[in-house]
C-alpha cells in the first residue's frame, strides 16, 4: 500500500481490512439512520476510503461529500465487532482531502482562518468574542432577526446555533491555582479549552468548584491552548500538531495526578494525542504520557469518589451521552453514577441517548440541515422523558441541546453533569 504523506500517520492494509463488511455498524450510524444510504454509512465510507487509499482512485466530489457528512461520532466503533478504528480512518481520509483536494475559495479561506488563526490564538478568539457579544447585546441581533436579513443570507439556521458569549471570560483564570476545600487528596491540572473560555466560563468555574469541593487542588496552566480536536477532525493535522506541542509543554512541566477536561470532544483527542505523531517522532512518547494522564471530569470524579456534601435536588433529569465520551472514550457509567449520587434526583434514561444530537464539533455549522434533523429527532425523544433538565457531558452537546430546547420550545434546562453536581454541593 502506498504511503500517504499525512503528517504523523501511516495507515496500513490491515487498518482497512479489519472491516469485514458485516454491516453491524449501519443502524448505529446517525447519517445512515437518516438516509439509509450505504455511501453515508460507516461500512460504505470505509469502502470508499479503500478505493482512494488502496486502489488509488482519485478523490472525487462525491467522496468528499460523503466523508464531510460523517459526524465522526464514532458510534460505529462501539457497534463494530471487529475493532475497526473508524475515527482514525476518517481523520486520515480528511487529511488526504485537505492535502489533495481543492475546496471552494470561500471554504478554503474560512477553514484556514478558523483552524490556523482563530482557534489556536487566544487574542483573536477574544477579539472575535467581543464582536459577537456586541452583536448579541447591542440589539443588533434582535434587529437582524426581526428584519429577516439572516434568512435572506441563508444564515437564519446557523445564527440560532450561535453560543451566547460570556460576560467574564475564563481566559483570566489561566495561570491560577485553586486550593482544595479540606484536606488535599490530589493535585490536578485543568484543561480549559478554547471557545469554552468565552462561552462556557460558568461551566469551567463550576468544574473547578466541584473539583476543589471534593479535595482537589486545581492548577490551570497558563500556557495552554486549544486541544486541536476540531482541526484534527477536519484533517488540518499541521495545526493540531502545533497545538499539541504547546500543550505538551504546558501540562507535562509537572507531575500532576491527572489532566482534567470537562469537554468529551477535547478529552477524546487529548487521550489520542499520540495518534498525531508517528512513533519515531520525539513528541510521540510525551504525547503518550499526556494521553495516559488525561481524564474526563466525570470519569475522574466517579473513580476518585465524591466527598463533598450534597443537598437533595428533587428534579427529573435525563442524560444524553456525548459521543466522544461514550463512543470515543467508552465511558458510559461514570456520568450516570455521578447523577445517581445526587440525593433525590429523579433520573430517567433517554431513549436513543447513544445517538448523536447533531452537534459534532463544527458539524452544526458545516452541515446545518442534517444537524437540525438529528436535533429534531433528539428533542422528540427528550420530550418523551418528561425531564425538566437535560444533562450531558460536552460543551458542543450543551450548545446544540440548548438550541434544541429553544427551537422545539421544550422549556428544558440543559446542563453539564458537573454543573448539576455544583448545584447540589453544599458549600462549606
Amino acid at each position: 500500500m502506498p504511503r500517504s504523506a499525512v503528517p504523523g500517520q501511516t495507515l496500513v492494509y490491515e487498518d482497512y481490512a479489519r472491516c469485514i463488511h458485516c454491516g453491524l455498524c449501519l443502524n448505529a450510524c446517525p447519517t445512515y439512520r437518516l438516509w439509509n444510504l450505504e455511501a453515508d454509512s460507516p461500512r460504505g465510507r470505509i469502502h470508499q476510503m479503500i478505493q482512494v487509499e488502496l486502489n488509488q482512485q482519485p478523490i472525487t466530489d462525491s467522496f468528499v461529500d460523503h466523508i464531510d457528512k460523517c459526524l465522526d461520532c464514532r458510534a460505529c466503533e462501539t457497534a463494530c465487532p471487529s475493532g475497526v478504528e473508524y475515527g482514525k480512518l476518517v481523520e486520515h481520509a480528511r487529511a488526504r482531502i485537505e492535502r489533495d483536494y481543492s475546496r471552494s475559495w470561500l471554504a478554503t479561506v474560512t477553514r484556514n482562518f478558523v483552524f490556523r488563526h482563530l482557534l489556536p490564538e487566544p487574542h483573536r478568539l477574544i477579539d472575535f468574542a467581543y464582536v459577537i457579544r456586541l452583536y448579541q447585546r447591542s440589539g443588533l441581533q434582535a434587529i437582524a432577526r426581526g428584519i429577516g436579513i439572516l434568512k435572506l443570507l441563508g444564515l437564519a439556521e446557523r445564527e440560532r446555533l450561535l453560543p451566547r458569549i460570556d460576560d467574564n471570560f475564563f481566559f483570566g483564570r489561566l495561570g491560577s491555582t485553586f486550593s482544595a476545600a479540606g484536606p488535599r487528596r490530589a493535585r490536578v491540572a485543568f484543561f480549559a479549552g478554547c471557545v469554552a473560555n468565552v462561552t462556557f466560563s460558568q461551566l469551567n468555574e463550576a468544574t473547578v468548584r466541584v473539583l476543589t469541593a471534593n479535595g482537589c487542588e486545581v492548577v490551570v496552566p497558563k500556557e495552554q491552548f486549544c486541544c486541536g480536536a476540531l482541526a484534527a477532525h477536519a484533517g488540518v493535522r499541521d495545526a493540531a500538531r502545533d497545538l499539541t506541542r504547546k500543550n505538551l509543554t504546558a501540562f507535562l512541566c509537572e507531575d500532576f495526578d491527572a489532566i482534567i477536561t470537562n469537554s468529551a470532544g477535547c478529552g477524546s483527542t487529548l487521550k489520542e494525542y499520540d495518534h498525531l505523531f508517528s512513533p519515531d517522532e520525539p513528541e510521540h512518547a510525551q504525547a503518550r504520557a499526556f494521553a495516559g494522564k488525561t481524564r474526563d471530569v466525570t470519569e475522574f470524579l466517579a473513580a476518585f469518589g465524591l466527598t463533598a456534601k450534597m443537598k437533595p435536588l428533587p428534579i427529573r433529569v435525563t442524560y444524553q451521552d456525548s459521543c466522544h465520551l461514550l463512543h470515543g472514550q467508552k465511558i458510559r457509567e461514570a456520568p450516570r453514577a455521578l447523577l445517581h449520587a445526587i440525593p433525590n434526583l429523579d433520573f430517567v434514561e433517554l431513549p436513543y441517548s447513544e445517538i448523536c444530537c447533531g452537534s459534532a464539533g463544527i458539524y452544526n455549522v458545516t452541515q446545518t440541515e442534517t444537524s437540525l434533523e438529528l436535533l429534531a429527532e433528539k428533542m422528540h425523544h427528550v420530550k418523551s422523558t418528561g425531564a425538566q433538565t437535560i444533562v450531558t457531558a460536552n460543551p458542543g452537546c450543551l450548545l446544540q441541546l440548548r438550541a434544541g430546547a429553544s427551537i422545539h420550545r421544550s422549556n428544558q434546562e440543559v446542563l453539564h453533569v458537573v454543573e448539576l453536581l455544583d448545584r447540589a454541593i453544599v458549600s462549606a
Binding site: L24, N36, H47, P81
Partner: protein, 477 residues
C-alpha cells in the same frame, strides 16, 4: 441501456432515490458474505405501490430485480449476481401497527429487527428471531432468508413468527397471503414465501407474532476441558427432554479471541464453553438450571457459572454475538460457514472439522448453535493470497459436504444465495430440482426476480465449482 429506465425511476421516486453512478453502485456489490455482484441501478421505494411500479418498469425493459434490506446477509442473497435493478427496502421502515393485546406487529420490510423489539419492549414483548446482525438487519431480510439466531432452539426460526405477508409478484401484481390470526386455510403460501430468498416475490408488508418476555431467565456458562465433553453435554441435555431457550458453543481458540476483545468473562484456558439459557416461569427455570448443571458436571465440566444479573448476562451474549467479528481481528478476511448436522453427531463433526482444517492448513474456529446442530465454522484467510483463498473455499466445501454426508444440511439459517448454489446438488437430486423449479416457475417464470440464487448455475451433480478469482472486495495494487 439503463438510461430510459433510470429516467422513469426518477420520475416515480425522485432523483434522491435512484443511484446509478459507478461510485455509488460500487457500494452495493457486497453484503456480509465474501461474495460480490454489482447492480446497474439501485432504487429506494417507500411504498408497496412504488415496488409494484418498479417491478413493472423493470419487466418492460427485461431487467432482473434483486431485493435488499441492510445487506448484512452471509450468503450473497441480496447481491445482483447478474446485474440489473437492486431494490433496497431500507426506507420502507414503518411499523404500521403494534397490536399489544394480540401480540402482533405489521411492519414494512425495511424495519430493523432490533427496532421492532425496541418498540415492543415497552409492552413486555419482543420479536423472537435474533440473528447476530439483529441490530442492523431488516425484518424483510429475515423473511427472505428465514433467519434464525441463538434462540431458535426454543422459539423456532423466522417462519414460525410470520403470520401474513403482502407480496409483489414479478408482473407487479400485489397479493396478500396468510392471516393475521390463526391458521390461514388452504396452502401455506406464507410458509412458501418465507425463506424463498426473493426468488418468488418481493415482500412489501409483514405481519409477525410478538413474543412475551419470560418471567425469569437464567444464563449459564459451562466450562469444559475438552470439546468432546462439551459436545456430549449438548446431546445429553436434549436427550433428557430439557429444551433450553439457547445453547451455544464456543471452542477454546475462538473464546480466547473473543475474551481478548470483549472481556465477557470467558475462561481463556478452557477447551470449550457452552452458553445455555433457560426461560419461563421462575420455578421451572430454577429446576431446569439445576438439571443442566448436573448434566454438565456429569460430563466433566470444570465449572458451571450462573450469570448474576442482567449486566453479566448481556456481557456473555455480547461475547457470543460479536464472536465472528472478534475472530475477524485475527486475519484480514474470514469466511463464516453455515451447516447443519444431527445434534447427536456433534462430537464426530467437530473432530472432522479439525481434521479438514489441518489438511488445508487452517485453524478453524467454531462458534455455533449447538442445541440445534447448526454449525458455524469460521475460516480465516488473507484475500491477497489467492492460493490461500482457494484453499479456504475448498476446506469450506469439504466441511459442508461432511455435514450433508452425516445426515445434515448445507445451510441452517444463512440461506443458499450465491454462496451455496453450487453445493445444492450435494443434497438434492435432479428430481428434487425439477420440483423446486416448478414452484419457482409458477411465480417467477422468467427468472426476473433474484436470478442466479438457490439453483446451481452449473449442471454437474455433486461437483463443487471452485471459483478461480478472489471474490473478496479488497484489491491490492
Amino acid at each position: 441501456m439503463y438510461s430510459g429506465l433510470i429516467r422513469e425511476f426518477e420520475d416515480l421516486l425522485g432523483p434522491s432515490s435512484v443511484l446509478y453512478r459507478p461510485e455509488d453502485l460500487l457500494l452495493y456489490e457486497y453484503d456480509g458474505s465474501i461474495e460480490k455482484g454489482r447492480p446497474n441501478v439501485v432504487v429506494f421505494p417507500t411504498t408497496t405501490e412504488h415496488v409494484s411500479r418498479i417491478v413493472k418498469l423493470s419487466a418492460e425493459h427485461h431487467f432482473p430485480i434483486v431485493g435488499r434490506g441492510a445487506g448484512t446477509g452471509l450468503s450473497g442473497g441480496a447481491l445482483a449476481r447478474t446485474g440489473g435493478v437492486m431494490l433496497v427496502f431500507a426506507r420502507m421502515n414503518r411499523i404500521f401497527e403494534l397490536d399489544v393485546e394480540n401480540q402482533r406487529a405489521t411492519v414494512q420490510p425495511g424495519v430493523v429487527n432490533y427496532e421492532l423489539t425496541r418498540a415492543a419492549e415497552a409492552h413486555g414483548l419482543y420479536f423472537a428471531p435474533d440473528p447476530s446482525s439483529w441490530k442492523s438487519c431488516t425484518i424483510g431480510g429475515n423473511v427472505a432468508e428465514n433467519a434464525g439466531g441463538p434462540h431458535t432452539l426454543a422459539y423456532g426460526v423466522t417462519t414460525n413468527h410470520v403470520t401474513a405477508l403482502e407480496v409483489v409478484l414479478p408482473d407487479g401484481e400485489v397479493l396478500r397471503v396468510g392471516s393475521t390470526h390463526g391458521d390461514a386455510p388452504g396452502y401455506d403460501l406464507t410458509g412458501l414465501f418465507v425463506g424463498s430468498e426473493g426468488t418468488l416475490a418481493l415482500v412489501t408488508e409483514i405481519t409477525v407474532k410478538l413474543s412475551r418476555k419470560p418471567e425469569a431467565v437464567k444464563t449459564l456458562l459451562a466450562i469444559f476441558e475438552s470439546v468432546d465433553d462439551a459436545a456430549d453435554t449438548v446431546v445429553d441435555i436434549t436427550a433428557r427432554a430439557i429444551t433450553p431457550a439457547a445453547c451455544e458453543m464456543l471452542d477454546g481458540w475462538t473464546l480466547r479471541a473473543v475474551e481478548d476483545y470483549i472481556h465477557a468473562g470467558f475462561p481463556t484456558d478452557s477447551a470449550a464453553v457452552l452458553l445455555i439459557e433457560v426461560e419461563g416461569l421462575a420455578e421451572t427455570v430454577a429446576a431446569q438450571a439445576a438439571a443442566i448443571t448436573e448434566v454438565c458436571h456429569a460430563h466433566r465440566a470444570r465449572e458451571v457459572r450462573l450469570a448474576r444479573d442482567n449486566a453479566e448476562r448481556n456481557l456473555l451474549w455480547k461475547g457470543r454475538k460479536n464472536a465472528f467479528g472478534a475472530l475477524g481481528r485475527l486475519a484480514p478476511s474470514n469466511y463464516v460457514l453455515d451447516g447443519v448436522i444431527p445434534r447427536s453427531k456433534l462430537p464426530q463433526a467437530l473432530r472432522r472439522i479439525r481434521q479438514i482444517g489441518d489438511q488445508y492448513g487452517f485453524q478453524i474456529g467454531n462458534i455455533f448453535h449447538a442445541g440445534d446442530g447448526n454449525l458455524h465454522p469460521i475460516v480465516l484467510f488473507d484475500p491477497r493470497d489467492k492460493k490461500q483463498f482457494e484453499r479456504a473455499l475448498q476446506a469450506a466445501a469439504e466441511i459442508i459436504r461432511h455435514c450433508v454426508e452425516i445426515g445434515g444440511a448445507l445451510t441452517g439459517e444463512h440461506g443458499v444465495g450465491m454462496e451455496k448454489s453450487e453445493l445444492m446438488p450435494l443434497l438434492f437430486s435432479d428430481a428434487d430440482f425439477a420440483l423446486m423449479r416448478r414452484v419457482h416457475d409458477a411465480f417467477n417464470p422468467d427468472s426476473s426476480l433474484n436470478p442466479g440464487k438457490i439453483f446451481p448455475l452449473s449442471k454437474g451433480c455433486g461437483e463443487i465449482r471452485v471459483r478461480h478469482s478472489s471474490s473478496s472486495r479488497l484489491r491490492v495494487d
